[in-house]
């Protein structure tokens, strides 16, 4: 799941939890899923590196990326 998708999922989970008439079991499951998403999103956010690369097209039309020497 991408960071975007996790945020969207968390949004949906929060909205559902805030709604009425929620089965308890469902609420608990949503909560668990929410915590898992928060954890994963936090981890992704903690990755600090920024890579700079260059796109190179091969003769056969496929691509590779090479690190740019700054």
């Amino acid at each position: 799941m991408t960071f975007e998708e996790r945020l969207a999922r968390l949004e949906a989970i929060a909205a559902e939890l805030e709604g009425d008439d929620l089965e308890l079991a469902r609420a608990l499951a949503l909560f668990e899923e929410g915590i898992e998403n928060l954890r994963a999103a936090s981890e992704e956010l903690a990755q600090a590196d920024v890579r700079v690369q260059k796109l190179v097209e091969r003769v056969d039309g496929t691509f590779r990326t090479v690190d740019a020497s700054e």
């Binding site: 805030e18 609420a27 915590i35 936090s42 600090a48 740019a68």
Partner: protein
């Protein structure tokens, strides 16, 4: 003896007097063609190409592809032509009433016997032609729906791959990298080289954008260059470049590096940034922004869960605070702590709460009974405990003071 005079030489014909130059006498009159062609030779020989200024009237774009019009001032006028092949360097056909400066060669059009100014370069006052060319391109793109605000796509909140179509040695790439380094985490910047000025810029930008599409891994595409003079930005006003930007599979940010003028590229792209640095800022959230977004979501999730579970259990409230702390700065910089915290969160989840000996009272319908108001003497209800459900009956109800 009478000398016999030799007879005089017979007159050459009346019409061919050998001593008169062509056109001197009626007998030596030249043809109209000779006249106009000679005039042309003389005029063309007498004038080097020059710049002439005046106002345009009677502009016509003939179906043979050439442009015809008059240039005039208060006292005089001259017929003008711009041949089809010379129009390429002129951004757009001029309009009647435009004040122009035109560079060309004075000649004579023999067929009509008229003087004619054959123009190869043309500039309108106030950059009028370039603006007109922009309007024409803009109108075409608009007619195709490419400027429709509904086409504009939102940018992903946290892109992982940002493709940058620009010159490798230009300031734009450098600026973008600097900003992304400062702000965002876990981002890959993939430069896709293209000249951004000069004759090849249009083709190269279109080609680079096509490469990005075929590669297919970019979350955001930034196309642009640093600031420059008018001429330098012309590739970004090109119709084909604009169409290539519109055809991008990923959301686009145009950064043409000119605060004042808006380029055609800017209009077509999903987002416009005044400079490459600003584009990088638009493309990425700061970690603080993302953190606060996560914090809000975690508060909502925990608060909602807490209110569902009900009761005076403060654990979830604490949990909410801890998730919020989790998303705050120091933890995010330290992976280990995040993991540790996640483990603690798990231990504190409502399921774990049940495991520690709490029970949840539930009505037959499944609603959580969190207040004395929900009970009546004799009413049957369920107790959800760690490993199952217990059927229970209300013996009495007593509200705490």
């Amino acid at each position: 003896m009478t000398r016999v005079e030799a007879p005089p030489p017979p007159p050459v014909s009346e019409f061919f007097d050998s001593n008169a130059y062509p056109g001197e006498t009626a007998q030596t009159a030249v043809t109209v063609s000779t006249l106009t062609q000679t005039a042309r030779d003389v005029i063309e020989g007498a004038f080097v190409p020059i710049w002439v200024r005046g106002e345009i009237t009677d502009f016509k774009s003939h179906r043979n592809g050439h442009w015809y019009f008059c240039m005039r001032d208060r006292g005089s006028q001259i017929k003008c032509v711009v041949w089809n092949r010379d129009q390429r360097s002129i951004p757009a056909p001029p309009d009647d009433g435009m004040q122009i400066a035109a560079y060309g060669r004075l000649t004579v059009y023999p067929t009509r016997g008229e003087m004619q100014f054959a123009i190869t370069r043309l500039e309108a006052e106030g950059d009028g032609l370039r603006r007109k060319a922009l309007e024409i391109t803009r109108a075409k793109l608009e007619a195709d729906g490419l400027l429709d605000p509904a086409r504009k796509r939102p940018l992903p909140r946290h892109p992982r791959v940002i493709a940058v179509v620009t010159s490798l040695d230009g300031a734009a790439l450098h600026d973008i990298v600097a900003v992304v380094r400062r702000r965002a985490a876990g981002v890959r910047i993939v430069a896709v080289p293209a000249s951004v000025q000069g004759d090849n810029a249009r083709e190269e930008i279109c080609y680079a954008l096509d490469q990005v599409n075929r590669w297919g891994k970019a979350d955001i595409v930034i196309v642009g260059r640093g600031g420059g003079a008018h001429e330098d930005l012309s590739a970004f006003n090109d119709e084909r470049v604009a169409r290539a930007v519109a055809a991008c599979a990923a959301p686009t940010i145009s950064a043409v590096g000119h605060e004042i003028d808006i380029s055609i590229c800017d209009l077509v792209a999903d987002h416009r940034a005044p400079t490459p640095s600003a584009a990088a800022e638009t493309a990425t959230r700061t970690r603080a922004e993302l953190r606060s977004e996560l914090r809000d979501l975690s508060s909502r999730v925990t608060a909602a869960t807490q209110s569902l579970i009900g009761g005076g259990d403060q654990i979830l409230r604490r949990l909410g605070r801890e998730v919020a702390t989790n998303a705050s700065s120091h933890v995010l910089h330290r992976h280990a702590s995040v993991k540790q915290l996640a483990a603690r969160l798990h231990a504190l989840s409502p399921l774990a709460t049940l495991a520690r000996g709490y029970a949840i009272a539930r009505s037959d319908g499944g609603a959580t009974l969190s207040s004395t108001d929900a009970f009546a003497k004799g009413m049957a209800f369920d107790l959800v405990v760690r490993d199952g459900v217990v059927s229970a009956r209300t013996e009495g109800v007593e509200k705490s003071a």
